[in-house]
């Protein structure tokens, strides 16, 4: 039962074998049930398809099944004795970039599929760029359909070289290449007998063993206060607990801490949970912190260390992905949500748009439309307590909300 949780995202188009690969992982780890399999089989037959279309397992909505495409993120689960896996299965088309961003936001690993016959395509580059923008810690490039290129090492090596050349321009630190055949199961769960030249691990072994212990920030203490717990009961008359989820660093009983934005300092009296007190808490634990001094603290405040504070900023630089049909409005006002805080902001400047296929910065056309990635400057109505996204994915991320329609219109990463 002592297994870790690993979240990974996949992206791909209809033909690159993504559904087959997911189907294979689910099937070989015994996560597909008989009745699910039977339902998919009979649906495939009704549709007049040859064989069993495993994509029907992941494409859950009527519109997706009708059109044979993945539109929205679907979540899939499987586990091995070592780890439990959450797959965010996202569409690969450029018109669904926003869904890819959504699925990737909490991932530890991004799995990118390459068709060995096609090599690196525009879509491969886009996935890699988005994964690097979202700072997914680990990238695994599965070069699929090796069976169709005679399991040839030369093909694998040349794709690998081409990708490495391109990735040198990206902010990615850990890239692994695995030659596979999802259809035949080569190097997915079982080692391939046909690629003796490959000395690396299978995909499942990689997913089970990739080091994710450092994916959370355990250095910079950040505790956004989510909710104040006041029981008002006789037994807990003076209890005043600050509930929240640790966003970074380690909180210890007895630590000197500072509360932002007020700047008051105090000492951690207790770290409480329903299971009893803890001596320390780290990301991503949900706990309740009690302080020695009576300070006015509410939702949106942050408990940090005096010598390690986030930036207290009203002028913020963001890299955003735009989600809405209505383009981003220069000088437009939006609600901004950051950790447990909400404020309003105005878009001061649109610096450039980034081409997600080439990394090219477009300084001329600054109309930010759906699925565009852009760099902008905003000013907020009150100071936010931010870190760079590079340093902390939780305290460095924001969303923008249209105050008229209430829709979430952008995801933003603090630069």
């Amino acid at each position: 039962m002592n297994s870790e949780l690993l979240r990974f995202s996949t992206a791909g188009s209809v033909d690159d074998g993504k559904s087959t690969l997911i189907g294979r992982l689910l099937f070989d780890s015994k996560s597909i049930f008989e009745d699910q399999f039977e339902a998919v089989k009979s649906a495939s037959e009704r549709r007049g398809e040859e064989g069993v279309n495993l994509a029907l397992l992941t494409d859950g909505l009527k519109a997706e099944r009708e059109q044979g495409i993945t539109i929205d993120v679907a979540y899939r689960y499987f586990s091995t004795p070592k780890r439990k896996f959450i797959i965010a299965d996202t569409p690969g088309h450029i018109q669904y970039t926003r869904n890819m961003v959504t699925g990737a936001s909490t991932s530890n690993v991004a799995l990118i599929l390459v068709d060995a016959r096609q090599g690196i395509l525009e879509q491969t580059r886009r996935h890699a760029i988005i994964s690097s923008l979202l700072q997914i810690p680990h990238l695994v490039i599965c070069i699929n359909k090796m069976d169709l290129v005679g399991y040839d090492q030369v093909v694998f090596d040349s794709i690998r070289e081409e990708f490495e050349g391109f990735a040198s321009k990206l902010d990615v630190h850990d890239v692994t290449f695995i030659p596979i055949s999802a259809l035949n199961g080569d190097n997915v769960v079982e080692r391939s007998t046909k690629m003796g030249w490959y000395e690396g691990t299978t995909l499942l072994y990689y997913l089970e063993n990739v080091h994710i212990g450092s994916d959370h920030n355990h250095i910079d203490t950040r505790f956004p206060v989510q909710y104040v717990i006041r029981p008002y009961s006789d037994a807990f008359h003076d209890y005043r607990g600050y509930a929240g989820r640790v966003a970074g660093g380690i909180l210890k009983k007895g630590d000197r801490v500072m509360v932002l934005p007020s700047g008051f300092t105090s000492t951690i009296d207790k770290i409480d949970t329903a299971d009893g007190e803890l001596n320390e808490a780290f990301a991503p634990m949900s706990v309740t912190v009690l302080l020695k001094d009576d300070i006015d603290i509410s939702r949106g405040d942050m408990i940090v260390r005096e010598n390690n504070q986030p930036k207290v900023a009203q002028d913020i630089e963001l890299r955003i992905c735009w989600f809405n049909e209505k383009p981003l409005q220069l000088k437009g006002k939006y609600e901004i949500r950051h950790t447990t805080q909400a404020a309003r902001c105005i878009v001061q400047e649109i610096q450039y748009k980034m081409d997600v296929n080439t990394l090219h910065r477009n300084l001329e056309d600054k109309t930010v439309r759906m699925n565009d990635i852009a760099r902008i400057s905003i000013r907020t109505t009150k100071p936010l307590l931010v870190d760079s996204y590079f340093k902390n994915r939780i305290t460095g991320s924001v969303i923008l909300v249209d105050e008229g329609t209430n829709e979430t219109v952008a995801a933003g990463m603090v630069i």
Binding site: T58, V101, F236, A243
Partner: protein, 300 residues
């Protein structure tokens, strides 16, 4: 010191975060209770999330009137355990008042009538969020659900136009008359739920454990013999040792042959099972997209 959480602790922490977010972002949230293990776990987590204060949610049970009697007994016990208020939305009353019309025939079920009663109960109570125990691994339409799922003024779900949900930032803004469904255990699987219930020693309804019961077979599914299900002439009632894998209305909840009398035995059974838990739910089998269709209309 190894700063790692095991998967159950991480799931627990995620769910507690969501539940606290509901309390912070909504005015009048309600917790939907069905008597099944998923709503039991959600309410159990809600109790933990606000410890030592009481959970700031009222519990709402949509009662079809076609329950296993054990469900109602457990519900009343559990409400006392949690120390929260219970509100019951009655399908029988809605039928009596002519608000909804009962289905006819052998496979008649009040499952569909629950939607209207649920929406009316939410409206009457002016609830702006309904917390439920749906999980993404249960069913393919549920695999697409957000944690915070927006519903329009008719209670409808628009699966093609869901709000993107990133990191741990949840947007609960809505217009007057709209509401949200919130699913704190979205990322739990059936096995996670059982492992956690065992770990935390949560008391459960007896229906989940193997017991002797009079049952009959219909369309490959074992149903409990009950006054609420008219039997066809050729349907034979026999006594078997069975248990429920999910608990819903008697008319649509299949039972399974099983000898599992402890949570540990259930975990072994679930881990080895080759059929999904909703495989016994006749309400899902009405079409390929039965769940998506019901959810669009406002079902749980």
């Amino acid at each position: 010191m190894n700063y790692r959480l095991d998967h159950l602790k991480e799931l627990e922490s995620e769910s507690i975060f969501i539940l606290r977010e509901v309390a912070a972002q909504f005015q009048n949230p309600v917790l939907l209770f069905s008597g099944g293990k998923d709503s039991i776990i959600v309410s159990y987590l809600a109790k933990k999330a606000f410890y030592p204060a009481k959970m700031p949610f009222t519990m709402l049970h949509i009662d079809t009137g076609h329950n296993f009697s054990e469900t109602i007994a457990y519900r009343d016990f559990w409400v006392k355990e949690l120390g929260c208020r219970l509100i019951v939305g009655s399908v029988q009353e809605a039928i009596d008042q002519g608000k909804v019309v009962e289905e006819k025939g052998y496979n008649a079920s009040r499952n569909f009538l629950q939607t209207a009663v649920l929406l009316e109960s939410l409206e009457n109570g002016k609830y702006d969020a309904a917390i439920g125990g749906a999980r993404r691994d249960e069913e393919k339409a549920r695999a697409k659900e957000r944690f915070f799922s927006h519903r329009d003024e008719f209670g409808q779900w628009d699966p093609k136009n869901q709000r993107p949900e990133l990191w741990n930032l949840f947007n609960a803004r809505k217009h007057l008359g709209e509401h949200f469904r919130v699913f704190p255990i979205s990322n739990w699987t059936e096995l996670d739920v059982w492992q956690y219930l065992a770990l935390e020693k949560v008391p459960l309804p007896n229906l989940y454990f193997a017991h002797k019961r009079k049952v009959f077979l219909r369309d490959g599914i074992l149903l409990a013999d009950s006054e609420f299900i008219p039997k066809k002439p050729d349907e034979q009632v026999v006594e078997m040792t069975v248990r429920c894998r999910t608990i819903g209305d008697v008319t649509c909840t299949g039972v399974w042959e099983s000898n599992a009398t402890s949570i540990e035995a259930i975990i072994a059974e679930v881990a080895a099972s080759r059929k999904t838990e909703r495989g016994g739910r006749t309400d899902d089998k009405r079409s390929d997209t039965a769940m998506e269709d019901r959810k669009k209309d406002g079902y749980f």
